[in-house]
C-alpha cells in the first residue's frame, strides 16, 4: 500500500526530472537539516559559547546554523536532481544587478567581519563616536550593524560600515580617566591661595578623585576679566559621573567659602579728554 503510494508520487512529474516524491524527500532532508542545525546551535550555545566572547559566540553560532542549512540545501538539490545550471546563468546576470543594489549591505557585512577580527572595542565598553555624535555602551556587533546604548538610555543601531570608518574613542580601555573644569578668579586674588582652596575641596568632597596622580591646576589664560585656571582631576574609569558633573559645583562652592571672587565679565571704559 505504502510502496504503491510512493510509486504514485514518483510518477507525478512537476517539471522535467522533478517528481513529487523527490520533492518530498528533499523536504525531509531540509527538515532534518534544520533540526540538526538547531541542535548543533543549541549544543554550541550551551557548551562552547560561554568560553568565547559574546560577539564571537553569537556570530559563530549563526555561521554554524546557516552553514548546516546551506549544506542541507545542496544535498537536497543533488538528491532531487534539480538542474541549477540555468539558474546559475540567470544568477550571473541577476548577481550584477543584485550586487549594485546591495552594495551597502555587502559593505556592512565586510565591515562587520573586519570589526570582529580587529576588535577595536569589545562588548560592554563605553565608547564615544565623535563623527556620529554618539556616546554610550557597546551592546553588540552583529553581521550588519552595531548597537550602542547611549547614556540617555536609548539604543542606537549603527551600520557596521559607519562604525568601522568613523573615529572610535574608547572610554573604558584604560584604568583611569581625567575630567577637566575651567574656573576664573579675579585678578586681585592670590592664585596659590585659590589653588590651595580648590585642592582641599577636591580632597575632602570628591571620594573618587585620585590622590595620585594628584589634581593638576594650570593657568590657562590671563583673560579679559579673570585669571582662568584649568583643573584636571583623574578618577577611576567607571566613575566619570561621580566626578565630572560635580567638579564645577565643588570648585565654585570652595571659592565662595574661601572668599575668592569669580568675576563677572567687565570692561573699563576711559573717556578721552577733549
Amino acid at each position: 500500500m505504502f510502496f504503491e503510494f510512493m510509486q504514485g508520487l514518483d510518477q507525478i512529474e512537476i517539471t522535467s526530472g522533478l517528481t513529487l516524491l523527490s520533492l518530498l524527500i528533499g523536504g525531509i532532508i531540509m527538515g532534518v537539516g534544520v533540526l540538526i542545525a538547531r541542535t548543533v546551535k543549541l549544543l554550541f550555545t550551551k557548551y562552547y559559547a560561554p568560553k568565547l566572547s559574546q560577539d564571537s559566540a553569537k556570530n559563530l553560532g549563526k555561521l554554524l546554523y546557516f552553514g548546516i542549512i546551506v549544506i542541507s540545501f545542496l544535498v537536497f538539490t543533488s538528491t532531487t536532481g534539480v538542474d541549477l545550471s540555468g539558474l546559475l546563468v540567470a544568477g550571473g546576470i541577476f548577481g550584477v544587478v543584485i550586487g549594485f543594489a546591495t552594495q551597502s549591505v555587502v559593505s556592512n557585512l565586510i565591515s562587520g567581519i573586519f570589526l570582529m577580527i580587529e576588535k577595536p572595542v569589545k562588548q560592554g565598553d563605553s565608547v564615544d563616536l565623535p563623527g556620529l555624535g554618539i556616546s554610550g555602551t557597546l551592546l553588540d556587533i552583529s553581521t550588519f550593524s552595531a548597537r550602542v546604548r547611549q547614556f540617555d538610555g536609548t539604543i542606537t543601531r549603527i551600520p557596521n560600515e559607519s562604525f568601522f570608518t568613523t573615529n572610535i574613542r574608547s572610554l573604558s580601555s584604560t584604568p583611569v580617566r581625567r575630567s577637566e573644569a575651567l574656573v576664573g578668579i579675579a585678578y586681585r586674588e592670590d592664585i596659590d591661595g585659590a589653588i590651595s582652596v580648590m585642592e582641599k575641596a577636591i580632597r575632602n568632597q570628591m571620594p573618587y578623585a585620585l590622590i595620585l596622580p594628584k589634581p593638576d591646576f594650570r593657568i590657562k589664560e590671563l583673560a579679559d576679566s579673570s585669571v582662568n585656571i584649568e583643573v584636571l582631576v583623574w578618577h577611576p574609569r567607571e566613575d566619570w559621573d561621580q566626578v565630572s558633573p560635580k567638579l564645577l559645583k565643588v570648585l565654585k562652592n570652595a571659592l565662595d567659602e574661601g572668599g575668592i571672587e569669580i568675576p563677572f565679565p567687565q570692561r573699563v571704559v576711559w573717556k578721552a579728554k577733549e
Binding site: 583611569v176 575632602n204 571620594p207 585620585l210 590622590i211 595620585l212 583623574w234 577611576p236 567607571e238 561621580q242
Partner: protein, 249 residues
C-alpha cells in the same frame, strides 16, 4: 592611641535581643527591634550618608560580628590592590634585610551570623578622607589601587583604633648596591585581618628587591602572621588577582 574613646564599641560578636547602639569615630550604628522577629539596622556617618535595612529573623534575637576588614569597599569596590606610600622611605644596603611595622588603612564590616554563615550586612570607614584611590604606573596601563600614606610604627600594637591596622613588612635587597623603598603595592585580598578589642593587624608581606633578567623589581608576597587574635570574616568575594611587578625607584 590617644584618640581612643572608651565609649567606642569594640570589635567582636554581639547577641542582640533588643535595641543596641554601636558608636565609632564619626559613625553611629543602631539596631532597633521594631517588631516580633524583625530588627532594623541604621547607620549614619561623617559624610552625611545614612543606610537603613530591615532584618527579619527566625527568632527574637540576632547575632552580629563587627570586625575590621580590608580597605577595598569604600567608596566603591574598584580594585584589589593597596598602595602604601611610606612616610619615611627605608634604605636597604647591599644584601640586607629589614623588618618594619607600618600602618595600613582598614574599613569596618558588620556581619550577620546565621549558624556557621557570616553574611555581610554593611561596611563603612571611620577615616573617609584617607580612603582614596591612587594610580601606580601610567594612566594608559597602570594599576588602580587604594592609596594611603603609611606611618612606620614600633610594634603590631600601634594601630589607631577603627582607622587602621598594623602590618609587618619584611624588606630584602638582593642587589649589589643600596636602594631606598618608599612604597609598596600589593593585592591585599591575600592578607587576612585580625582584631583584638579595638586594635587590628593584617597578615605580613615580604618585599624583596631582586633582578629578573635585566630588570630590577620588587617582589611582593604575603605571609601569614602568627597570632591568637580573632580573624575577621571576609567581606569581598574571592577573585583571582594578578601579582604585580613593582619597579624599583
Amino acid at each position: 592611641m590617644s584618640e581612643l574613646n572608651s565609649n567606642y564599641t569594640n570589635y567582636g560578636v554581639y547577641e542582640i535581643d533588643d535595641d543596641f547602639d554601636c558608636i565609632f569615630p564619626k559613625t553611629d550604628v543602631k539596631f532597633r527591634k521594631i517588631g516580633e522577629n524583625v530588627f532594623s539596622y541604621f547607620r549614619s556617618d561623617s559624610e552625611d550618608k545614612t543606610i537603613e535595612k530591615m532584618i527579619p529573623t527566625k527568632n527574637n534575637k540576632i547575632r552580629i560580628e563587627i570586625a575590621p576588614i580590608r580597605p577595598l569597599n569604600h567608596p566603591s569596590h574598584r580594585t584589589s590592590y593597596v598602595y602604601l606610600e611610606l612616610e619615611t622611605p627605608v634604605f636597604l644596603s647591599e644584601n640586607s634585610h629589614a623588618k618594619i611595622f607600618a600602618r595600613c588603612p582598614i574599613e569596618i564590616g558588620v556581619f550577620l551570623i546565621d549558624g556557621e554563615n557570616k553574611n555581610s550586612l554593611d561596611f563603612f570607614t571611620c577615616d573617609p578622607l584617607n580612603s582614596r584611590f591612587g594610580l601606580y604606573g601610567t594612566p594608559e596601563s597602570g594599576t588602580l589601587c587604594k592609596y594611603a600614606k603609611s606611618e612606620i610604627v614600633e610594634s603590631l600594637d600601634d594601630s589607631i583604633p577603627y582607622k587602621n591596622a598594623v602590618m609587618e613588612i619584611n624588606f630584602g635587597n638582593e642587589l649589589q648596591g643600596g636602594h631606598s623603598i618608599s612604597k609598596v603595592i600589593f593585592p591585599i585580598t591575600e592578607n587576612s585581618v585580625y582584631y583584638d578589642k579595638s586594635r587590628a593587624i593584617i597578615d605580613s608581606i615580604s618585599a624583596v628587591i631582586k633582578k629578573k633578567l635585566t630588570i630590577e623589581t620588587i617582589d611582593v608576597s604575603s605571609d601569614k602572621v602568627s597570632t591568637n587574635w580573632t580573624e575577621s570574616p571576609t567581606y569581598e568575594r574571592k577573585e583571582l588577582v594578578k601579582k604585580l611587578n613593582m619597579g624599583v625607584d
